[in-house]
Symmetry: D2
Subunit: 360 residues, 4 copies
């Protein structure tokens, strides 16, 4: 790691960079605000939401996180989703029912939209970004601006299950993974608020999450794809996913089996996890975890309740690497779905982009 | 279904068959007693347990089921684990730390031991029985008696996850399954009492259950194996399992992917599930569910809280049949781990055996 | 108990009595349908709900209970909330936002509305009925018809916490209770569906339920009140309630302290619980539990998970009777909130009314 | 608040004060170690536990907290419970089955034992200390040493429910509380590890905690008692408690009703909560929360999941102040049972004692 946290600040000379939040009142919107509290580079200066909340004092709306709400954010008045008014950099936590059009309007009006929404993730001109995995995909941006005719841009982060899965696969990419089978055990917070009714969630498993399996299967292939000639060529691996909901508050657990083109040893895999490192670590980005992948040797870990909040929820915890009689290797991973899998992912994306902009 | 419930009774002429319970005070022992309450063929007349409980009135020991405890069982005095005293037929709910030797002693002393314990399951001379799947494996018994020199016998039921998995695979056996990948989401009651500490179970996933994956992988192959020439030839399929514990009271959910030798359509699979039927249904055994496999068409089912108690906990609920990009097909199943996966399984085994004995 | 179940049937001579369900698609509506399945006197022949569901086949709407849905009910088409069309006897599971006016319309049109809704409970002319507690309050009905000018009638059952509390206090009424302090720990099903969001309910306590404390405090006084001269004189006791929500599926637990006018011994209280009995038991009404109050001697009971489903959810389980240094006595009670506290309560009310009508 | 955190350090001149942990391997022992990580005054230098764990490397024993274990503590070898070897100041997290004698041996050998165990709490010569409530009770120590003949001393913190209750009552002491009725909803972590079996805790309430009600009733009176003439005169209030266990991880909720000698307004009570402040705040002790009592105005707060970790778990959150028709006033409180109710309480006690020792 060549940089230290903060050294790389694009804002070093002066003021923090102002950011806005689209969809500031929902579960992910609140998580953005919580994570940006005290952020060394960014300062939340603008909040936008649907008509239902706009015009209200943010602090008067229900705040559902255990992290406290900053007084200066609480005192802001929520604006409407009007492009061109707020700061240049906006984080989007918009519901997919409105994100599609709204994010385009903001990009057209010159905003850089760093989005957690699913709508534009599979657009061939939109980077689907995990800074440790495919920072080179940002090369799509000039093309995006040119072909879309936008003054601004849209950059997205992947689905909450695809992120930690792709991080572990990126560490193993050199072994040429060909087939990936995954069953997820996903936390309730992934469904937002009010989300899953408690009668469905208490002492129960719901073996279905609408659209989730397709996202995991497709986004993983784009994430590990190669940027070349103005586009991302999808990785040829096959991914098969089953998504379930379990009564956990935060933290998606995934049971993963992987096959590689050639034989690989457990030692090689462990070493690859251990050494895995990307731009955030090299540049010392503020939200970068020290190690993106933490392998736990205890046989009954990782566990959401004990491990998900470690490293600020930004690292992926992995355990139980062992032989899979069918594909070759299997392991269990845990990722924080609302931090590394949503708001924290977008913030890390923005940090990388601002660093690059400042050091061009 | 040719028989009606009760018609096949081996006890029709007169008295119910007396049965004993080995390990009567544990979680599975209690489940045996609850399921045998009002049983048309069997009557619990003898309870045995370790020194700690023997000599005590059963009703004075803690009863942890919501089902009521029969007064006549409550008034029995718990005996020691002394072979040769109790009735000929005994159900074993013994802990694996003692079941190995104790069950042999009971078999030597002439008891038919219908066991839920893991100790003798993989013994080549011991039937690992699911009446709908491999009733022909009971042909091992004469050989077992001869080679072991036992007057009695030992018959076992499989692991609580292997049972429902093997039932679905038995329905699909004609399509020649070759590879089976399964991730389980197992209920807390599977760990007995006191079992999993609540601090580990609340809003958490534990991605490890000691010995469980091996049992699922091996027992499934024996269950689907063919009896021939005095032995069971294991099925050649490959099974790869990941076992996790989730905060559910009763009901193991399994995410299953299967590959077959030749292409099979979803319609063929659904029809095979629908038609699947075995000796218990044909003979109308008292604990037989009307259909061993119930396919649910709602996209978010089966769910433990809503579905696990149906059909007295004796049927396997299946849902979400769809294409697996890697193995071919995938589905989700749910089985009641303490009923179809433990005590109810053993009782059904005993029903089949008593029926055969009465109709020889 | 002079009658046996079924003997008292008002329908003995012939057909079952047809009943309708207002608000058939909600949580309580579903519970009505489940409890009326196989009912010896009543047969569900008409379902009504809001415009959103009317016109649809009932079986095509989501069914959220583990109890199966009867095929003949599943095949019914849901009607609108149109008074005068359905059978004379209707059970109301309407949301309080519409129950107020709708129930009056049905009463005007000649229906006997047996309601679980809160709207008319405190109307001086409407019986707030628990058959074991205040069956004499039904004497209000002729007055209600006369003064309201209704051809039909409205009879209500109390709040889900007030019912079991009032049942225990009715057993102790002869000792003249003067002060009652209660803290409730209420199940999630009490909030209906979707009800409490799972993020609020998982591993959490919500120390507030809107309007609940007032209902408990007021309804209890009406329930124990005396009918005289065309009205109910409220019982003079003081009730102070705190209502909390806990992560339990079914079953409200209540921590109760009671003071009496004169000294009473624990033996007298236990005997009063034991002997407590009312019209449902005397008449052998179909839904009557054998004993309305079941006292459990184990020191850690009653518990929702183990005890709430006993006696079909119609009895109140009580335990931990001991001295309260402030009010005199304290105990813990448990009642099934959607059965004895809602749909089952209304059905028992209707059974009593139909029995009286048939034996006038 | 006259001091700032750290200013008051008794260790300012040089080294941190070494401390030992008795019962280092249990749930409370682990919490001590987690809270002392990075403590500005104290450094854990000695770990003692029963024979079962002694001789082992601490880091090789199971660590069950989500907070990481310090490397320097992990590398320590666990010692036996041998008095006279470790540092002068020891925190006791011993189980009550051994704490009675062991703590006396340590006090005799010259150790200052700051204990969380219940054994010596009600000893008339042992301070039962909450620094914000009764710091004057430390005046018992010279008498304790003299009468017991100990070179060291024993100081205890109260029961986990008594602490937050007594803190709110201390704030209201000037209004002369006479009667206090409390029902607790206690978290699972209060029972230690393995503690409550998950089958008892999942979607359930256990309405009994052995010995808990007596502790709350008695300790509260000692805590609010007056030190005079070499002893503590118990407060004359009457306390009546009901203790229940609910499926919450951390945080005891209490439903409290209080009566005062004279009429008091809600405004006066709120002001008393607001102004409440004690030695820890005045001296700026390291573990002191900014305000010992935080009143929340939202009607559905405090909630364990959202509020219990605030202020490092050291403040008591209160809400829902309203009229109690029987006693006068009622409110709901929430305290962190393993921090403010156990390890954090003892550490704050030690901080006060070390500050006093350094500033004599």
């Amino acid at each position: 790691m060549s940089g230290k946290k903060g050294e790389s600040s694009p804002a070093r000379g002066g003021q923090k960079i102002e950011v806005g939040i689209l969809g500031a009142t929902g579960a992910v919107g609140q998580q953005f605000i919580a994570l940006l509290s005290g952020h060394p580079w960014f300062r939340v200066s603008w909040l936008a939401a649907s008509e239902r909340s706009s015009g209200k004092r943010y602090g008067d709306l229900p705040w559902r996180l255990s992290a406290p709400l900053d007084e200066d954010v609480a005192s802001m008045t929520v604006d409407t989703l009007k492009a061109g008014v707020g700061p240049e950099l906006v984080f989007s936590a918009l519901d997919s029912s409105v994100a599609g059009e709204a994010e385009i309007e903001f990009a057209q009006a010159g905003h850089t939209v760093v989005s957690n929404s699913k709508n534009h993730r599979m657009d061939p001109l939109v980077p689907l970004l995990i800074p440790e995995v495919n920072s080179d995909h940002l090369a799509l941006l000039p093309l995006q601006r040119e072909k879309k005719g936008w003054k601004g841009a849209i950059v997205t982060n992947p689905n909450c299950c695809a992120i930690p899965l792709a991080m572990t696969l990126a560490a193993l990419k050199k072994f040429h993974p060909t087939r990936v089978m995954v069953t997820t055990l996903q936390a309730l917070s992934g469904a937002g608020y009010p989300g899953v009714p408690s009668l469905d969630a208490t002492a129960n498993v719901i073996p279905f999450i609408d659209g989730e399996e397709e996202k995991i299967e497709k986004e993983t292939k784009k994430l590990l794809g190669m940027y070349a000639n103005g586009g991302v060529e999808f990785h040829p691996m096959t991914v098969s996913a089953t998504a379930t909901r379990v009564p956990v508050i935060n933290g998606h657990t995934e049971s993963v089996s992987v096959g590689f083109e050639k034989p690989v040893s457990h030692e090689e895999i462990l070493a690859a996890f251990e050494k895995f490192c990307g731009e955030p670590q090299k540049l010392g980005l503020p939200s970068a975890p020290p190690r993106p992948i933490v392998y736990m040797t205890q046989q009954n870990r990782p566990q959401p309740r004990l491990d998900v909040e470690k490293d600020g929820g930004m690292s992926v915890h992995v355990g139980r690497l062992r032989t899979c009689a069918i594909l070759g290797h299997k392991y269990v991973l845990l990722g924080h779905n609302t931090i590394r899998g949503a708001a924290g992912a977008a913030i890390l994306n923005a940090e990388l982009m601002e660093h690059q902009a400042a050091h061009k």
